[in-house]
Amino acid sequence: MKRVHAVIVGAGAAGGIVAKQLSSAGLTVVLLERGPWYTAADCRKDDLRNQRTTVLGNAFGPEDEGNPRVWIDARGAAHIVLPSEGSYQNNAACVGGGTLSYGAMAWRFLPQDFRMRSTYGAPEGSSLEDWPIGYDDLEPFYDQAEYEIGVSGDDSPTPFHSPRRRSLPMPPLPPNREFAILEPAAKRLGLHPFPIPMLRNSVPYNGRGPCMRCRWCVGFACEVDAKNGSQNTVIPAALATGNCELRTRSMVKEILTDNRGRARGVSYFDANGRLQEQLSDIVVVSACAIESARLLLNSKSRLFPNGLGNRYDQVGRNLQGHHYTGALGFFDFDTYDDIGPGASIAVTDYNHGTPGLCGGGLLANEFIRLPIHTLDRLPPGTPRWGPGHKQAMRAWHRRTIIVMGPTQQIPTAEGRVTLDPWVKDRWGLPVARLQGNSHPHTFEIGEVQAARAAAWLKEAGAMQTALMAGRPEIVSSGQHQAGTCRMGDDPRASVVNRYCRLHDVDNVFVIDGSVHVNNGGFNPVLTIMAIAYFASDALLRSWKGTSFRS
């Protein structure tokens, strides 16, 4: 196979952007994705089988067959888990990665999120740190993501937003009924509600039409292609340069190194299961936090016996996602209007500045609930089955609002990805083994947030509220997984430098949520996208022709 300048592993949020940036600059690129390319025509609107409700499996991969992981529970017992189970911590496996089926909330982190340790100090037992870069370094690239991928919204009603050079390229979607109920209540509480920024067309943009507001958004692909992911923006743009080749159903096995300790390409199983080698000057790993760590750990050689970039046992540590908490409110009038995507209004007043708490989180109303989601979200005391349950479904399905949000996750070094010594996937590769717990302070933040959500719902007229704030004994990661290849200046305490290059190997980059030092009190994808633009920019600035030199 022809040698290329860059091989990128994973055609998701970050991988798609890196592919476009490098190929537009004239580099030859091969983009390898283990999943297939679904299009809007593969309508997969199935309440029981999508990327969020997986009772019959994931619609956008990976499939349950042949893709296990191992989860170590709080008592140390190992469980083999499947992609459709929660403890697997899945995101997706297809062109677009999570961005094909995501909810598309498009949050910028706040400046404090990059300086958590110096703002709050690190809670005992945590690995809370400052980022080596600051908000200002990323601001231009947040802007680029908002304009190139496409974000609608308007954060001008709140003072609690990050500074921005210009407003978003599209106005927000018109308010739905929940917005109309929650907005005045938040204002009465002295909060600053505003429409959630969304990677979703509210007006025609980028050659595609606007959202037509269906019932099945989060967890589903968009049938009118109004949801903006890498699969309908940067990846087609990368292919259009003529410099980028996308190979789907291609599972990367390992990063190959030469005897001087530099990467020379990757080996991968192609769509027919044959092992291939693709040689390149540089390798970019964008496989999402758990699989990126796994790939580095699986890339063992004489010079790197513990895996690539893992000289100081840092790869896979600080695994984190978001602990979600909030409240469910029951109303004596219809709150349901069948207008998607449903999630519409947020406050960011609580992200920082509560005495005694290391951060906080945004609160927003939840996406449209499908009937399947109401089954166990009925007023406390409702019978679990029988006529009482059926009547309660009728009484409440259209009369609830959920307000919730991601809490600032306090990372620990023990929350981590390693390789399981026994279990292998369908290709015979050791699978990811997940272990560790959320730091207890995360739960303390979450409980305060849940009470705030309940207060907002009560102010909006809820007759009754139920708190949604558990203390699950499991490391949170899943769709918001991050942190496993931390960015830092100290090679002994991080995996990549501030430009996402491995400390250990100068032509290997990790560019995705893995590099997050912490995950903010916000959904992560816009930050992942901004980092992808930021790191591509740095990479191109130091690119000196056919072969990569530092």
């Binding site: 007006v203 069948d338 109401t374 089954l375």
Partner: protein
């Protein structure tokens, strides 16, 4: 279907024909007729009929039967044992199989199953509610009855463009 699959399917169909369809076991893919009747009795306590159909009337047994041959293969044994136990509880309490007991007796038996074999009951409860409230394409929630019961339109409105510049909020 590829050509090869088509030929293979044809070969199987004619083999079945030659054997006089002797292996055909009724409408079910995984369950026996007797198991299906017992399951229907349990499902119909979980979602009983009122102004709207019961679980089995809406196709939930079909849903579970199909998934026991697909995504829920791993639960086949639990179903075989649990349904047998349900029948024996029925026999001890009412002298007949669960499916033949009167509705009040069935309720008593299902409550006893919930007590005595909570793991099995929770499984059936979960699968019944999924089937009844999930997508019709899997055989349960026939004609989207549960969605209509909840007042969510079916078929849903597709293709509407809601955006109206004159009515939008601050923009």
């Amino acid at each position: 279907m590829t050509r090869r699959q088509f030929m293979a399917a044809g070969a199987m169909a004619s083999a079945a024909w030659a054997a006089g369809c002797s292996s055909h076991r009724g409408p079910w893919e995984s369950l026996t007729e007797r198991q299906a009747q017992t399951l229907a009795a349990i499902c119909d306590q979980i979602v009983p009929a009122d102004d709207y159909p019961s679980a089995s009337q809406a196709g939930v047994v079909t849903y579970i039967d199909r998934q026991l041959a697909r995504h829920y293969r791993r639960h086949r044994k639990a179903y075989a044992l649990g349904l047998e136990q349900a029948d024996s509880i029925g026999a001890t309490r009412c002298g007949v199989r669960l499916a033949q007991a009167s509705p009040p007796q069935q309720l008593q038996v299902v409550m006893a199953i919930e007590q005595q074999n909570a793991a099995f009951f929770d499984l059936v409860r979960k699968h019944t509610l999924e089937g009844y409230y999930g997508s019709p394409r899997h055989g349960g929630n026939r004609d989207a009855v549960s969605w209509r019961m909840l007042g969510v339109s079916q078929p849903p409105l597709l293709g509407r463009a809601q955006y109206d510049l004159s009515k939008g909020p601050r923009s």
